[in-house]
């Protein structure tokens, strides 16, 4: 029998190449099946997109009302990266059977979460920079990172790999946003009184978030708490 480059029609007409599983080179320990099916992932992505779009919009509204120059400029960058996150989620939706027009489809997990978002967006006047930033950078974005990381651990690592890749990139930027927000808040909260304002605001917003069940509407941390 000659060495075959391509399989023939007979049992003995096989190629000479050694057989490997799709997971052997390099070794890949991922397994099929995850917690979320296509429909559940699509709904979660719409929930994620809702949160990102609202963060972008509320920060857009705030820039003109914030007196601290480095906060204005810092938010400019966060707005753009948050818009890109919402955009990536939108582009994922048609791939999850949501239709070609689903690019800008956002959906709150429930009314309590949309009310929570409105509470985060509520501070308006110039003296309220601490309240504005605390809601987003101490509570909401850390919550999103937690849920995004949870999704990546629990979803099907092969079937849902496109969502995982999107989330990995977003998580990396979100960590930068959290660090920036906390640096700014640490600088702004110089006195005990201001530190207490930050804690009070975080506690209030966190209680609303917990009551809503978070971005996907269900507490998912396993510890029964958020953040």
């Amino acid at each position: 029998m000659s060495e075959r480059m391509y399989p023939g029609l007979q049992a003995d007409e096989r190629t000479v190449f050694a057989p490997y599983s799709a997971f052997e080179i390099p070794a890949d320990l991922r397994e099929l099946h995850g917690r979320y099916d296509v429909e559940a992932t699509a709904l979660r992505v719409r929930n994620f997109r809702y949160a990102e779009e609202w963060i972008m919009m509320m920060m857009g509204g705030w820039i003109a009302t914030i007196p601290e120059l480095p906060v204005k400029t810092g938010l400019g960058k966060v707005i753009w990266e948050t818009a890109q996150a919402a955009d990536e989620f939108g582009k994922r939706l048609p791939e999850l059977r949501c239709g070609r027009k689903a690019l800008d489809a956002s959906e709150a997990s429930n009314t309590a979460f949309s009310d929570f978002i409105q509470a985060v967006a509520e501070p308006e006047s110039p003296p309220l920079t601490i309240e504005k930033l605390t809601g987003v950078f101490d509570v909401l974005i850390p919550h999103l990172v937690e849920i995004y990381e949870l999704h990546n651990r629990e979803t099907d690592a092969i079937c849902d790999a496109p969502t995982i890749e999107i989330l990995e990139d977003i998580i990396r930027r979100k960590h930068n946003h959290i660090q920036w927000g906390q640096d700014v808040l640490d600088a702004l909260c110089e006195t005990d009184e201001l530190k207490q304002r930050r804690r009070d605001r975080a506690d209030h917003i966190r209680s609303l978030l917990t009551a809503s069940g978070g971005v996907t509407g269900v507490l998912e941390t396993g510890q029964g708490s958020i953040n």
Binding site: I63, A64, T65, L69, K72, G76, T82, D87, E124
Partner: protein
């Protein structure tokens, strides 16, 4: 959080003071008549004087009187001319606060128009980052030239004039009016940097100009999209843009006239999506103000009157 905020509510830290935007508005309505220009600025003199107190513009006021802005705006930047550095810093500071207001305008467009198409919000979000970098760039350039933030009063008339409550007019005002003006000013700054061998300024402003061309393009595209199939809306939007362009021409200082301090950057604007017809119209609108000779004569009269009044006050106090 409410939709749409007035320019008075733009938040600033304690370094900033405001300049009454009426001055810029008046400049755009002045006729080519020396006496009228003098009378108008004479009426505004107390307000102008109060506005410059304690800022780096105070010495300019004391040197040139209430018409100092006529001299500043009307003359091309000249490194060897009188008061060259204060004039350069005044322009640089004006650009800095213009970028600040452009950031605020773009950011508010995301909040003020929640039902706008997603691509519009994406464009505005990108513009937010760009304008935020521009603020940082011009703060650095101010320091590079020996200035600092808050050294001159801030006029918020750019935000006031450009930020309409209608999305088509907002992008016409901010992205075509304000950003178009930025193209003209930045091309002029690049020329100045080349003349003075300031490579730091030249390179930085050139990058900013490239960004602004993109922002004007956003404006050109979204005006078309927001007014699609509605000729009446398009006409109102074009009328608004003409009004903004008129105000942003500072009585002819920014125009195609031979005596213009800031020429229209035609090539940059063509690349940004302006048509030749639009640029011809802009040249006509912006060139309607008083001539340079008129403004120069008015500035001299205002200066001489101010000097005489100051001398009389000093003599009265001495006796």
């Amino acid at each position: 959080m409410k939709r749409f905020i007035p320019h008075e509510e733009l938040a600033r830290d304690s370094r900033f003071v405001r300049q009454d935007p009426a001055q810029a508005t008046v400049l755009s309505t002045l006729p080519d008549d020396v006496d009228t220009v003098v009378n108008v600025f004479q009426q505004f003199a107390p307000m102008i004087e109060a506005g410059v107190q304690g800022t780096s513009a105070q010495p300019l006021f004391e040197e040139l009187g209430p018409g100092f802005m006529l001299t500043i705006i009307n003359e091309p930047l000249d490194a060897d001319g009188p008061a060259a550095l204060p004039r350069l810093l005044l322009r640089m500071h004006g650009i800095f606060v213009g970028e600040l207001q452009a950031l605020e305008g773009a950011a508010r467009s995301i909040w003020d128009f929640p039902d706008a198409p997603w691509e519009f919000k994406m464009n505005m979000a990108r513009q937010c980052w760009d304008e935020a970098r521009h603020i940082q760039i011009f703060e650095k350039l101010l320091i590079h030239l020996g200035g600092h933030v808050g050294m001159f009063p801030e006029s918020t008339f750019l935000f006031e004039a450009a930020c309409s409550d209608d999305p088509a007019m907002r992008v016409a005002g901010v992205n075509r009016g304000l950003e178009g003006l930025a193209c003209d000013v930045f091309r002029d700054m690049i020329r100045y940097a080349e003349k003075t061998n300031d490579d730091v300024m030249k390179q930085a402003v050139d990058y900013v100009l490239a960004d602004e061309i993109t922002h004007v393009r956003f404006g050109s595209e979204w005006v078309r999209e927001f007014t699609k199939g509605d000729p009446e809306h398009l006409k109102r939007t074009q009328d608004f843009r003409r009004e903004v362009d008129k105000r942003f021409s500072f009585g002819g200082a920014r125009s195609d006239r031979e005596d213009a301090a800031i020429p229209i950057a035609r090539e940059d604007r063509i690349e940004a999506g302006f048509t030749e017809d639009e640029l011809d119209e802009l040249a006509q609108i912006s060139g309607e103000g008083p001539s340079k000779d008129t403004l120069t004569a008015a500035a001299e009269i205002l200066r001489d009157r101010y000097k005489a009044e100051s001398a009389a006050r000093e003599n009265g106090a001495a006796s």
